[in-house]
Amino acid sequence: MWQVAGRPFISDELAAFLESGLSINIGTRDNELEPDGVIAWAVRVHDDREQLTIYLHKAAADAMVRNLRVHPQIAVLFERPTSHRGCQVKGSFVSTRAAKAAERAEVEKQIDGFCADLEGIGIPRALASGYQIWPCAAIQMRATELFEQTPGPGAGEPLQ
């Protein structure tokens, strides 16, 4: 695992960025190396700074978890639409469960932040309100690699 000794794998600053209400996209693949991808709504970085719980619509999760149970590799792209600051977290699937009612407020808070940012690129909040959030699943993953994903020279390089 790529990690600087003595430093958390996901820094406090990066954790705050990831949880700030971003565009979140998850990539997986099936047995035939056919890629699949879905949108997710929110993330929580665990206190160990290595594990993440990602919240997404149950229908999206059901199809994806079928892939993950056989091939646990997972890639998650986080991006802020206005600044295009982005980070790709790669790692492996740990578990899945239904999101709890107590988690709903945090999920909706992050979606609200994402929608506010979408307004910055000309997408009215009312138009984004067509998103279906619930029933929501929570997928837990362990991060093993972090990559810079802001577009331009250097995109795709490991985050330092």
Partner: protein
């Protein structure tokens, strides 16, 4: 399968799309795409701007998935794809490249933010994503967006109307305004400008505009810069939708490039026209391989110009180019005829003198540029003409001039053929109206004009 043609609005570049790939060893990857273009009923093209992980994955494993949104409803679609080939020329590549380069030039990123190729993919399936249904088409939000910018059809009747207006324009001067006025009245294009090729091969100059607080006549556009400069360079139309999003994307690239010392901190040029245009459409005005100028239409609304608009305005541009060139030739021919009837010019707007009684005009010989009371007025051939008129007026009180005399004047260095004198005079007259109304040039007949001074002038020649 949902027909690819039915997703036209998803291919406008208004919203980002996501590309999912997977390496041969099975590691998935997600990337944001700036452009997904429709190619034909079974192919799309994805922009390839950087050698990144997705590109390496596709080289190992041609399977991919793209998720994209309809910008009108936010309904999401998933396309299952197979990589076929990378194109580095041809119409798909060129159309994508021109859009990318126009954005790059606005952001000072020419040469860095560029299209390396158009990756062509076969579309194996298209499905609407059930849990991302977006807003119903009938919802008030979608309807209000649609009503905010109603589509105006290019009908034969509309084309006949514009043709009539053009035929009725008696002079080149009135033709230029008639073109832009008709584009608004008939087609609803409220912000437009015409820039014409100038005597300098690397520059174009704005000669007429409509819908802006400041006319901007005489503003220069470098060939190859911005949408107008790119249209002039490539001699092909460019349509850009969602400029804000693409500029933000380019700004992110610029920041990274600056951090790595690949570009200077600020080489961006201001957009001519609207401060924050969302959609722009530029078409070249060409007659028999000669670039007459560029017509640029823009709006602050996203997704205003469709692919059909581009095709229609391109056809219209060919017609306008001929009309402008004909008007130029007609004025030159009639100017040679003796006893041409004097056509009275509308009375000039009363001159509002500046606080000081005397205007100081400085002509900088090395730059061929005139400043009035220290502010830039005009440059190049129109500057040389104005300087000549003012000198003759000061020396012998001349107020009446003819195009013919100017044309024969060797000090102006006009080319023997296609000197564009008429358009230079129009530019000078309009520039004076905007920036120095104390000096006016009024047409007093075919090929004749009159210099009118509302203030005393002091002429100073600088090296």
């Amino acid at each position: 399968m949902i027909p690819l043609e039915s997703l036209t609005s998803c291919f406008q570049g208004l919203l980002p799309s996501w590309l999912y790939t997977c390496s041969r060893s099975g590691v998935p990857n997600v990337a944001i795409l700036s452009h997904v273009d429709y190619v034909d009923p079974s192919h799309v093209a994805l922009s390839f701007q950087f050698f990144n992980k997705s590109k390496r994955n596709i080289a190992e494993n041609p399977k991919a998935k793209v998720r994209l949104y309809d910008p009108d409803t936010m309904r999401a679609y998933a396309l299952r794809l197979r990589f076929v080939r990378t194109e580095t020329d041809g119409p798909t590549f060129e159309s994508m490249q021109l859009r990318v380069e126009a954005i790059a030039s606005y952001s000072g990123l020419k040469g860095i933010f560029k299209l390396l190729g158009a990756d062509i993919y076969e579309v194996l399936s298209v499905e609407a994503i059930d849990y991302e249904p977006g807003m119903p088409v009938a919802s008030p939000t979608v309807q209000s967006r649609a009503q905010a910018e109603p589509r105006l059809p290019f009908t034969l009747k509309a084309l006949r109307e514009i043709s009539d207006r053009i035929h009725q324009a008696p002079t080149l001067d009135s033709l230029l305004d008639a073109i832009l006025e008709t584009l608004e009245n008939i087609f609803g294009f409220k912000h437009s400008m015409l820039v014409l090729a100038s005597e300098r091969p690397d520059r174009l100059e704005m000669i007429a505009s409509r819908g802006y607080p400041e006319g901007g006549v005489g503003s220069e556009v470098r060939v190859g810069e911005g949408i107008i400069g790119m249209v002039a360079e490539a001699r092909k139309p460019i349509r850009i939708a969602g400029i804000l999003r693409q500029m933000l994307y380019a700004a992110a690239v610029a920041k990274r490039a600056q951090e790595r010392g690949l570009t200077s901190t600020d080489r961006s040029i201001p957009l001519p026209g609207l401060a924050n245009p969302e959609s722009q459409l530029g078409v070249p005005l060409i007659v028999r391989d000669e670039l007459i100028g560029v017509l640029c239409i823009e709006t602050d609304k996203s997704y205003r110009f469709h692919e059909d608009d581009r095709a229609y305005v391109e056809v219209l541009g060919g017609y306008l180019a001929i009309a402008i060139q004909n008007a130029l030739l007609k004025e030159r021919t009639e100017e040679a005829e003796e006893h041409s009837p004097v056509k009275p010019q509308p009375a000039p707007v009363p001159v509002q003198p500046r606080p000081q009684s005397k205007l100081k005009l400085e002509y900088y010989k090395s730059d061929e540029c005139i400043l009035v009371d220290g502010e830039y007025l005009v440059r190049s051939l129109p500057a040389k003409i104005l300087w000549k008129l003012l000198h003759e007026h000061q020396a012998g009180g001349a107020v009446e001039f003819t195009n013919r005399r100017l044309r024969l004047d060797k000090t102006l260095n006009l080319p023997d053929f296609k000197d564009n004198l008429e358009s230079r005079l129009i530019l000078l007259r309009r520039r004076l109206e905007e920036r120095c109304p104390e000096i006016q040039i009024a047409q007093s007949g075919r090929g004749r004009f009159r210099l009118e001074l509302g203030s005393a002038v002091e002429l100073v020649e600088q090296p």
